[in-house]
Structures are given as C-alpha cells and as structure tokens.
Symmetry: C2
Subunit: 322 residues, 2 copies
C-alpha cells in the first residue's frame, strides 16, 4: 500500500478533508522528532509544517520517497544537497498565495503614499490637519522575482498606473505583466529611478543577501523597499542603516532576518518601517486552500498523471513561472 | 476689458502660472470679505478658495457674471437659489481628483482587510504575532455615486477582483465600470451582501443624510463604510452608534460632519474608524493641476469655445458623468 507521511507541528490545523487520504494510502502524521522514523517505506511526503527544516536530517532514512509537496511558495528549506541531487519530484503551493500577497504589497504602498501612519497619529491626538499625500499613479516599481507572486503584484500596481519593471535571472523585453524584465545580476544599473523596490524573489544562492547597502545607496532617497519574498535576501544591518540615515524613505517588511524578529531587535523601531509577522499570504481560508491544492495534486499522483508544475530545486522555484 | 475675479483665502497658494491671466483680463484677487465689492463688472469668477460659502451672500452684486469655476469636485456650496436659477455657466474640477481619491479608498480598504492598525500596534510592542488577515478579491462593493471619482474607484476595486455595483439616480444594467447600477432611492434592497459601502456621491437634496441608521442596520455586521463624498451625506450620530455597537465593522472617513471635526468629538475615538482631514484628493502637485485645468478652461472661454463639460447645478453634478 502507498504510504504518505505528513509532517505537521502542534500549532498546525489538521483539516478534516485530509481524512479521505486514508482511502488510498496509509497516512503517517508525524512531527519533526518522529520524521526520520516515519520516512522508511514512505512514498510521498507532505510538508504541512512548511517552515520545518527537519527534512534535511531525516532524509537519509527515506528509502522509496518519490514526491515531496511543500505547502508553501518558498522551497528554500528543501534545497539541501541530498534532495536536490535525488530523483524526488517536488511540488509547492504554486499560486495559492499570489493574490493575498500582492494585495499586501499594495496595502503597504498605499500606506506610504497616503501617509497613513501619520494620519493615525493625528487622529489619536484629535487633530484635523489637512496636508498633501502622494499619488501612486505615475510612480515606478521594480519587482525582483517574476514568479506568480511578483506577477500578480505587478498587475495590481499597473492597475494603479505604476510603471513596473521586473528583475529575473534573464533579461528580456516584451512581457504581459512587466514593461520589461532586467537581469537581476545587473540590478544596480536600474535603481536610480525606482520609487518602489519590491522583493518577491525566492531565496537562492543568487538572492541571499542581495538587498544590501550598495542597493539601498543606489535608490533615490524617496524610495521605499517592500519585502515579501524571504528575509535572508536582505542584509538586515544594511537595511537598518539605510532606514536610519535616510538613504531610503521607508520599508514594508513581511519577511525579515531573523524570524521571528526578537523583541529587542532595533528593526522594530526603525523609522518609516512597517513590520508584519510573515503573514501576508495567510488570509482567511488559506489553510483550506492549501489542503485542497494538495488533494488535487494527490489525486493526480494516485492516478499516475503529471503535476501541472513542479519545482526545479536546483533553481529554487517553479521554472515555468519566470 | 474682461474682468476675472478670483476668490482666495490667506492659506491658499497663488500659482505663478495665473500671472498670464492678466494678458486677457483685469484680474481681481479677493477674499471672502471683499467679494461683494469685486463682483460688479466681473465676467468670470474663479472659486480658488473652493470651501468658501461667501458667494451666496455676495451674489446679488454680480451684474454681468457669466461663468463660475469651482476648483473642487463638489459644488454643493454653489447650489443656492439665485445661482441655480441664473444663466451663469458653472464648471468644476472634473477629473482632477479621481485617481487620488480612488487610491485613498483602496488604501482604506486594504488597511481594514490587512488589519494594518493592529499590525502597527503589535510592531510598536515588538510582538511577532502571525495571524490571519482578509483577501479583498471576491468581496463585494457598493459605490454610491457614479461620477468620475466613483468610476475610478470601481475600476481599481475590480482590478482586485471585487464585484462592484454602482448606485445612481437611475438604475441600469450593463456599464463599463460597474457590474450593474442600482437606483439610489432603493439602496436598502441591496445592502445585505455588501462588504464595502462607499460614499462617492455629490451632496444634493437626495444624498443629504442618506447614510443613516437604517442603511447601517441593513449592512452585514462585517461591512465597512468608506466616505469620500461629502460629510453631510452621513448622519454622524447614526454612524457613531453603528460603529460603537458593532452594527458595522468599521469606517474610513475623509469627509465628516462637521468639518473640521472638533477635538472633543466622539467620532475621533469610534472603534475601527480611520479619519483624515478631507485630504484624499490633495496629492503632491494638486494645486498645479487645479490651476492648469482652470487655465485650459480660461483659454476656451476667451476663445468663445464650449467647455468640455459643465455642472448641472440643479442636479448638483456634471450630468455626463452619471
């Protein structure tokens, strides 16, 4: 019989819709400390606790694993050598978070443009103070990462009249969602006219630490940085310095390094900075959407049909997206 | 020689581009207390201080006025009987504020959906707390007022995947910006499934006080009210009660009644309420845009050409818009 192992954690819900998996397989619900014991004999693994890094240590016990599904958009915790070099097929939560995260980015952009934090302070003080804010239309965004999340973000920005350039592993003109796509390796050449620099990139060797002092220094001092990819793509100390000395005008951060951000970390109080707890994709019903997506994949797998898309672990993302 | 009177106030800028008006006319810059003395002989009047209500008292001295331009979208302060009954042509700041105000509405919608105020409080307290927020896509909006501002707002909402119904003086199906348009007189029949009720209506006899206890009571308790039209369209006490007792889930108010909202007014502290000082249209460069629009109108008027659109004072708005 097929064996499916599901890695969960105490804080994760166990959707009732998963009960039907038992019709087709033996299902092993495990947590990080029992993963290694469960993998022998397992054909498939669902990383329901998608933040877990437990698989790397447990992986040597996997003797017949052919499929791993991560219930997340990012797959950086799966990019360890043994799995990358294996024949295991990897899928992820492709598409599930696109709209929610794109909306989050627009929310951050609008909070900056409309000076919302200042408005809340005036309201708290009962002060009626008419003042100018900014128009988003006519501004320029550079979205690093042209996957599903970056593309949905670009579409919403364009609906506001923003000129949106993408940055990816290969430059190219003519794209449905971006006015053009530049090569991320040459990011520096394109920063001087950017109003909104948006990190929607997967965490890879190429993106780790890419948002650093030199990037911030090349942005206009009026630019804001919005990060919804992975925290480790940004050098936190460099960002903190850029915010503190006015090199850039603000940051909206749903991902940071480290996570969770410790209570005493100076980033919490950096000027013009909005921080949320890696929640931009977690909109009402998200757990159900993730469960349903896995079940759809599961049915294909049981039927021997191909997945609509798979992750290229060596690249670190779904190649069809970029 | 043509005489142009410009009503201003001490806090209004006097754009340098207006200097060229002197080539075609005698220009009289006045404030409220000198308006009546300046109107005799004046051919045109620019209400540069568009919040002023001074014209009603001064109007009897106008003996040859043929055109009044209001540097505002709303023209409610011009709807006094003598002017309504006159042959004076009235124009307004048609289109100038559409994008800025539509962006403001989306900013409010996203702040509610993404629970931004709560996120700011968590950040202030250095608390990393992952929690669910809302997706805007799939929600339903009812935009009261189908003029330029309401339409631009509808377009942005639709870009997010919101179903947007309009409410105007006449119901009709099939519209470029709204999935349908209902008759505002029957608003109550359409409220039970509304997530976002948006006041983008001009202030007229029909809209004064229209957002009242009965409207709020018919909305779902999860609905939010966003008001960017005129404050007097809403019964403030009814709104305050609806917010305080949970009849509705929140309000984003750029216009209130009274304005300015006095420091001691309870609306400042109403739960789930965002208040700004009638500034949603005032984005960087707005004064220049208003001045340029007047100059374009001026050139047409001097050349004897028709205006692209005029205000129907009896209706209270530009009829071509609705």
């Amino acid at each position: 019989m097929t064996i499916l192992t599901i890695l969960t954690s105490p804080d994760k819900p166990r959707p009732a819709v998963f009960d039907r998996l038992g019709d087709d397989a033996e299902v092993r619900w495990v947590e990080a400390d029992t993963l290694a014991a469960a993998l022998p004999g397992s054909d498939a693994l669902l990383m329901w606790d998608f933040f877990s890094t437990a698989l790397e240590d447990a992986f040597p016990t996997a003797d017949r694993l052919s499929w791993v599904h991560a219930a997340s958009a990012g797959v950086d915790s799966l990019r360890f050598r043994r799995l990358v070099d294996s024949d295991v097929t990897v899928t992820n939560a492709h598409g599930v978070f696109d709209q929610a995260i794109a909306e989050y980015v627009l929310g951050v952009v609008l909070m900056f443009a409309k000076r919302s934090v200042e408005s809340l302070e005036l309201q708290r003080d009962h002060v009626w103070h008419r003042r100018e804010t900014e128009t988003v239309a006519g501004t320029r965004a550079l979205v690093v990462g042209t996957g599903g999340i970056g593309r949905r973000t670009a579409r919403l920005l364009r609906a506001f009249g923003v000129d949106v350039v993408g940055a990816a592993t290969h430059a190219r003109a003519g794209d449905a969602d971006f006015s053009r796509i530049i090569d991320s390796a040459h990011l520096g050449e394109h920063l001087s006219s950017v109003d909104w620099l948006i990190n929607a990139a997967p965490l890879t060797d190429a993106t780790r630490g890419m948002f650093d002092a030199s990037v911030f220094a090349q942005l206009p001092s009026t630019a804001r940085f919005v990060s919804i990819g992975r925290g480790a793509s940004t050098k936190t100390d460099d960002l903190l310095a850029a915010l503190s000395d006015g090199t850039i005008a603000g940051a909206g951060l749903d991902v940071v390094d480290p996570e969770p951000l410790p209570p005493g970390h100076p980033l919490w109080d950096a000027p013009n900075t909005l921080i949320t707890a890696h929640l931009s994709g977690d909109t009402e019903g998200w757990t159900d959407r993730l469960a349903q997506q896995f079940l759809t994949h599961w049915d294909r797998w049981v039927a021997g049909e191909p997945f609509p898309q798979t992750v290229d672990l060596r690249a670190g993302y779904v190649p069809s997206e970029t």
